[in-house]
Symmetry: D2
């Protein structure tokens, strides 16, 4: 994660989310509409609450871009939190505004609340949940949208698709499964696949473990909130060596492959085939049906239940995965081809 580096910040109900990206070449076209369309995609999907459908995140760029092109200097992205006005006092930076309003003491199973409060020595769990919230993925998607714009310069495109919702493996059944889950006041997870096409051969490397692109991709996908499993290519458990490995073919002297079970990665490197990564998302941990919990202050049994209406967020998760994968690919291209301007980089890329 060295050349394309960035930091993100922001609480769920704070003033805004912010990111700074350092390391992109100068001269890259930045299409703000594309960034906003990615932010919108993240907010959608069957199974999201009504709130998500209405409000629409937009990004503002406050540095690093002039007249639509990157300058080579760090890019600042800001995504405002629309309801900040009503949280202004509760999320205030100022010591004098201290209040117990909206303080929170029930450890929610499946969340950072418990471990986070122990780690950071906090009694008001709001001080943990404001940052552990999936809200922060909005700014991550904005960062990834910029990475995608960079990849587009080289003709690299991506798509994603939901392949399972709960136990339903057929896409005709997905809505049904979500509707049923909603009726039960429950939540449900799922599985999706992301595909990147037209990648160059040799991103990543076999020469040192931490240069393997498979590991870097697994890191960015597994660290998405709620993701618990990552796969590259086909699950090998149904195959033997003779049926799993992608044999080499020759078509008019051009080297090709008979299949793509490996998902486009061999020896920790892209091999010129489509990159195929799947991930499994757990059911959202806040639901109408309450879970048993404990109160952090009273140390008494209690229930964790929440008025939040997302039943399934697998589609949003796939957008987050797409954009995070773009981080890794952009970084690998920058490392492999060098270049301080997009023109120089393209020269090196297309030699």
């Amino acid at each position: 994660m060295e050349k394309f580096r960035f930091l993100t910040a922001g609480e769920s109900h704070g003033k805004c989310l912010t990111a700074i990206i350092e390391g992109l070449p100068a001269g890259l076209n930045i299409d703000i509409d594309f960034i906003n369309s990615e932010l919108k995609r993240r907010q959608q999907g069957y199974g999201r609450g009504d709130r998500m459908q209405i409000e629409s995140d937009t990004a503002e760029i406050t540095s690093g871009v002039r007249f639509g092109k990157t300058l080579g200097s760090p890019i600042t992205l800001v995504v405002k939190n629309r309801d900040f006005e009503s949280w202004k006092k509760i999320m205030s930076v100022a010591p004098e505004d201290i209040t117990d309003e909206k303080a929170f003491s029930t450890f929610r199973p499946g969340h950072a609340d418990y471990a986070g409060s122990v780690k950071y020595n906090q009694t008001d769990l709001r001080n943990i949940l404001e940052r552990s919230s999936a809200r922060k993925t909005a700014i991550e998607v904005a960062v990834g949208a910029i990475a995608k714009l960079f990849l587009k310069e080289f003709g690299i495109e991506c798509s994603s698709e939901i392949t399972q919702i709960g136990t339903a493996c057929c896409c005709d059944k997905f809505k049904e499964e979500i509707d049923l889950t909603k009726e039960n006041g429950d939540s449900v997870g799922g599985k999706f696949v992301v595909v990147y096409k037209n990648l160059p051969i040799g991103l990543g490397s076999h020469v040192h473990w931490d240069r393997g692109i498979d590991g870097r991709l697994a890191q960015v996908v597994m660290s998405i909130p709620a993701v618990k499993a990552v796969e590259i290519g086909e699950n090998p458990l149904g195959y033997y060596g003779s049926t799993y490995h992608d044999e080499f073919t020759l078509n008019n002297g051009e080297i090709g492959r008979s299949s793509n079970h490996a998902g486009g990665i061999e020896g920790g490197m892209t091999n010129g085939q489509d990159l195929v990564i799947s991930a499994v998302m757990k059911p959202i941990p806040t639901m109408r049906k309450p879970l048993k919990s404990v109160d952090s202050k009273t140390h008494q049994p209690t229930e964790a239940h929440f008025e939040r209406s997302d039943v399934c967020a697998v589609e949003a998760c796939s957008v987050v995965a797409e954009t995070r994968i773009a981080w890794v690919l952009a970084n690998e291209i920058l490392l492999k081809f060098g270049g301080d301007s997009i023109e120089e980089l393209k020269h090196n890329y297309h030699k």
Copy 2:
């Protein structure tokens, strides 16, 4: 991977494998027998070729340890390649020894050969395969054994277990599956689970994506040669929110959990439960039954087949995973608790 940092080096048939580890505190007891026992574990398992059973790797320490204790300075580990004498000329560093003997031009499906030769501009594929070989995991295991020794100081212990070989999910069937595969001149993959017990709460963090311990663990496991999938805890696809999440319980005022589906990680942090990570290994790509390939020099069709007798290396892979996970845990403990001597670190840890 910041405080416990290391580099590894070495070709499969070169003189030796080497690692340098920087960042461990002074005063840690280094039990060389334990390191060697881990190296031995890596070489075993049903399904390995005869060669593996006989030869036995051992590590030598050439810096950073004196009278059995770390000095705080970088530790050098060396594992000799036992058959170097017969490869001396073929793997020579000297320009004048250049030879075509053992040169290699058939791209092996499932290996780094193709992408690696394109990336590094090599025609003799030996220049790729010597480093992409799983041989390099020997020195990685030695590094991980030192990380395990460090973890033991805090009572942290690990175990692993094979849970599937090919399509056989029951351990009674594993040998049978391997024997059958061997008869067919084929190879077979599998799945294993690693469990770490007695971890402190709060390794990793929710505050920034790259501090999530789930992502860091996924990286080290997915980048093991031949691993194609990583899971943390139970696969959530069979569950709803109400059945997946691990409810909080109270036992005599002590906070506990009713289950451990999350595999010990919530919000990117260890939560005090057992850490449970599974991985799927693909079938070894070299087998008696040949795969179709292309010759890199002649650009003619050919066959990739090899005289190597490993049929299944899932057990070795689980040892590699155990030790790599130890890298991450050691690093997180060093970051969380600080300390330049083991005494100082223990003071901070047990406060």
Copy 3:
């Protein structure tokens, strides 16, 4: 620079400067007035233009702090550029606003203009100078002010002092030298010393070159715009071994030193004495008296002369140095003592 990590962004006439800091523990008191007072100090000093004296930077915190205390999550700092309204169109992010107004083509000696335009393939030098401007040190000082607040928790305090202006080595002569320089339409540099007191023994290390705190300090000071030399402690050229080295003394059984020529660092580590670092700043490269230059577009000789009235900025530079040194010290303390909350860190620190 691992545990206390941050990125800064912002153009000189853009909307704002931004920084995100990641890695501070939770529970640290953030005194916004202190941050603003450091920003003010940076804007002052004899020899600055009138503009500097009037306008006053202030920082806003938009994440990572609640009710005056850090949350452990990333902190966002924003310093607005006060004259952005008049530059809005010229510095616009939008492609449609493209204009040649304020475009710039004379390479200024002593600036990034020439190398930057070659590197980033830019013809309008404004695209370089907007970021290379010393304006960016405002947000760096804000970051350093937070590091200083962290250091204060451990009783670590700092001061700085100008020791030379041009060839004037006596502080009575500094104003005179600056006045004379101003009359000549010229600019003048100088030398300053920064002292940090009450540091713990053992920040940095001798075990690996990049862990030496001397090198890390030299990096942050030398990379301040206009700094060309860095010294730690006394210049050794006037000494022999027998007179330079700081002998050990005993006062009532307490180990002390007879002198501090080493400036508080031996073997790449703090040794418990005051940390003493000096730096030399070159004369500001923009002055009334023009320098010979070349036009980047016409490739014709021209003159680089500028309506900017700073004659000497050594005092501001010393404030930047103070705060940058605080970055390094904060990071080293975080690495050495660990801790995710300020309470835990203090426990480890004061053991």
Copy 4:
């Protein structure tokens, strides 16, 4: 220090010094004789003890190079310690060999002994001094020699020169100054300058403080044992803005400069002129004339005096600086131009 990364290890009287370098492209010619000639240069210079003149370090490569060319995989360098046989027991890794022989308890002023023993909780100071010894610069020079070989591929060459010994500024007086110091049983420091020629424009950057090449160079030079000051270009204190800055000139349409006071760096970037860096080395802290000290065990006053005959090591220090600067330049070229093979890199470089 991202793309050209390495770790070094080894105690002064241990078995050997080791380094692993990761990140160089494949196909680079490695001339072992050049590496050894650099090691020899480091051991020479007027004022060194007799021992240095006789023994001669040589490097062995045990990975990453085949038939004289890099493979793209990590390179291991080993430099043996010639007198290890006589230190075998004293520096043994094995716990059972524990002994007090050669244990050491007098804090030597100017060394890491005091801070190191506090930091790492050691009573036998040998456990500190074995690593803090300047012996470790031997393997650093070997690493730098490889970086120099890389730079040579692009026509980049370097030289260095001593400019001051103690207070003697004229090279005719250097030997005299050293002889006099030796007679007095004392030691003396000095100053040297390193010059790199034929660098490309735009190594480093102005866009973020830690990308400035001036800071990176200052770090590698200041962290050399005994270096206390670093300067880039001319000392600006004797100049005004109008006389210091290097004006642009035109010679037959070619942009040039009237001078090189800036030492080849403006805005944190190389500007196409010669890179000029000076450093000041303190007098060696071990000398015949004893310094006052304290015994770490008895807490009684004592004297630190040593049977080591180096009086002045400024020349060796300049070799270390040359090679460390090569680390930075190699890394910057790798970052700027990309490339996984030397052929690809050259294509990008010479476009």
